[in-house]
Structure formats: structure tokens, C-alpha cells
Symmetry: C2
Subunit: 202 residues, 2 copies
């Protein structure tokens, strides 16, 4: 199944190019597991979710480390019927039949609990979209129930859910939301915003 | 039907707060037609699409006018079954049965052709998501066909479609994509990125 993301890094500083180029080294450990293409709007990452989410986490933690207000915005997708399959995307995450919702929630909670903290606090909000099924809201509500128990749930907002915490459990929760909810071979996407060092009070 | 957006403006400059606050006046003509709430990640706009898209356009054109590299990122939604209805969202756009796809494409092209240019060139990319139906890709392909004839189509990218041109026809095309494709009362969302003044070559 084809999976990947279009991501953009927005450092709110006149040296935004320096912050971005300085953070790109964080992708080096993942480069042989991803196809990467950049233009003036975004960078395409094609690869399996268990590489995509840690790569986005490490890129964002590196960019935020300089202290500037930084945002990572991402369009993350799996199983889009309009995309060709690609061997680089192979993942055990989507083999086999879908387990029941309670099992998937429990596995999601375990993966968040197992995340090793990075020391970088972040705020995030995201929308999970499940296409091509008429039970998509059941999956969304199941995911929200998992998030509320995850330790990184902040609050519900219109159109999205807000998370807060260390970058590691937050990105682990995002990966679980993306992989565990919606049909294993289904078309599932996330519209993601991650923020650090904002001067605006919450 | 409930409709609205979570939007964020990212000026890549140390004076990002000044650019954002300087652009907010562009929302003044729309304030009595929108409910607006801001936190440290995004600003919620609740209102009908025929107000939302012009408001986003004018805000972005005002922010980009200073010359700094600016990005507007938005999560735009209509008909989400999890959101309560709101009288402020009332719109004639979603009354009546869905016309056939060719009629909707023609109306979309007419609205783009009628847009009065702003003088601000922008680049944009977006994904259109149609939930709760098993024919969602037919609607997506219909929308892409409209975009290819619209004069603001740039190219297809993985997971999204890239537009370029004056801000007015680009935002008119985005509004048509959002309103004309997917069921009239359906759950439809757009994941949007708009960019101006990027130093990166295309």
C-alpha cells in the first residue's frame, strides 16, 4: 500500500532557510528508507508509517531546538486509490484482518506508553479522515477515545483534536491514529499541524 | 450544515507577529458573517463557504503584500457529522439535489473565470476529501478534471493538486472544489497550503 506525506517546516524567523537546512541532518538515518522530493511548497516523503512518523518527529525536534517558533505542517496519506503501490512502503502494520476496536485502542495506548521522551515539548492538532466506508465516524470516535486515554490529549477543537506533550509520545499517538483506525487497506489521511516555541498564550 | 476552517498564517520573518496583526484588518469586512476564535496553533473561522474563501484570500493577500515569504495553512470542513449545525453557516450552495458532474464542472469554471484579479501571484496545493460515500474517487477525479481546465492548474503531486496564479482565481477554484464536489449535505474537507514570496525555485 502506498503511504507517505507532503510536509513543510515553517520557522518564524528571518533565518528560516538556515533553520530548515540545519534541521535536515535529522532525516539522514531515514534516507535509505524514504523517497524524498522537495519543491517550493513542500517535501514529499514516501515510505512506511513506522519510518515516516519518527522521521517527522526528529526533523521537527531538530528545527525547534534553536528556540525559534516553528511549525511543521503535513498531509499524510495511506491507501489512496489514485497512487501506485511502491515497494519502499511495505509495512507489517497493514497485514491481516482488522482487529476489533478495543484491541486496536489497547495497542495504540501501549505504543504511546513505550515512547522514549525527547525533551522537546510540542503542541499539535490533527484531523483523521477515513474514506470509502460508511462507518468512518465509528473509527474517528474510536480514535478519539484512545487519544483521551493516551496522556497527550489536550482538547477537542472544531474540525480537529489537539494534543500536547513531549514530541515522542505525541508523534507515537499520531502514528497509532494513522495506522490503527480505518480499514487496514483503506484510504486514510491525516491533516497535521505541530507547533513549538509559540509566543502566543494557549 | 456546519462549515468552517482552522487556519494559520506563517510569515517567515522575525517580525511574524507584526505581519499577522497587520493583516488581520483584511478580515474586518467579514467579521459579522463569521465566528472567529484564536489560540496559539490556529484561528477558527465558522461561516458559509462564500464568506470563508474570500476572507482567507484577503487575509493572505494582505499578509503577503509586505514581501516576506508567507504561508497560509488551512483545514476546511463542511458537513462533519460530529459538529452541531449553526445558523451563521446558512448557504444557498448546498440547497437542492446534486446536479450532474458536467454541470458542476461548468459552474466551477464560470466562477473561476468571473474572479477579479488581486495582483498577488500565489502558489497553492490542496487535497479534497469526501467522506461517507463509496464513490469518493469519482468526485475527486471530476474535481481534478475541472481544475485542469481552470487556468490555475499547475500540476498533480502525490496526495494533492498544485495550483498557481493570481490569488483571486486560485481561491475561486478552491471554493468551487469545496462546494461543487461531494454530496451537497456530505462531509467534505480540504487540507490547504498557500504560499507567496518563496525564495525556493519551483
Amino acid at each position: 500500500m502506498f503511504s507517505g506525506a507532503q510536509i513543510s517546516l515553517y520557522p518564524m524567523t528571518g533565518d528560516f532557510v538556515g533553520v530548515i537546512t540545519g534541521a535536515l541532518g535529522a532525516l539522514d538515518p531515514y534516507r535509505n528508507q524514504l523517497r524524498i522530493e522537495t519543491d517550493d511548497i513542500s517535501t514529499l516523503l514516501v515510505g512506511p508509517p513506522d519510518t515516516l512518523f519518527p522521521a517527522m518527529r526528529d526533523l521537527f525536534v531538530a528545527a525547534a531546538g534553536g528556540g525559534a517558533h516553528c511549525v511543521l505542517s503535513g498531509t499524510i496519506s495511506r491507501g489512496c486509490p489514485g497512487e501506485p503501490d511502491d515497494a519502499i512502503c511495505a509495512s507489517v502494520s497493514f497485514d491481516g484482518p482488522r482487529e476489533n476496536l478495543e484491541q486496536r485502542k489497547a495497542e495504540s495506548l501501549a505504543s504511546v506508553a513505550a515512547a522514549t521522551e525527547t525533551g522537546t515539548p510540542i503542541a499539535a492538532q490533527f484531523s483523521l479522515y477515513v474514506m470509502g466506508t460508511d462507518d468512518h465516524m465509528d473509527e474517528i470516535y474510536g480514535c478519539i477515545d484512545f487519544l483521551k486515554q493516551s496522556g497527550v490529549f489536550d482538547r477537542a477543537k472544531n474540525f480537529c483534536t489537539r494534543l500536547a506533550g513531549d514530541a515522542a509520545p505525541v508523534f507515537a499517538a499520531l502514528e497509532a491514529a494513522f495506522c490503527q483506525f480505518g480499514p487496514p487497506a483503506g484510504h486514510v489521511t491525516i491533516d497535521l499541524t505541530v507547533s513549538a516555541n509559540s509566543p502566543t498564550p494557549r
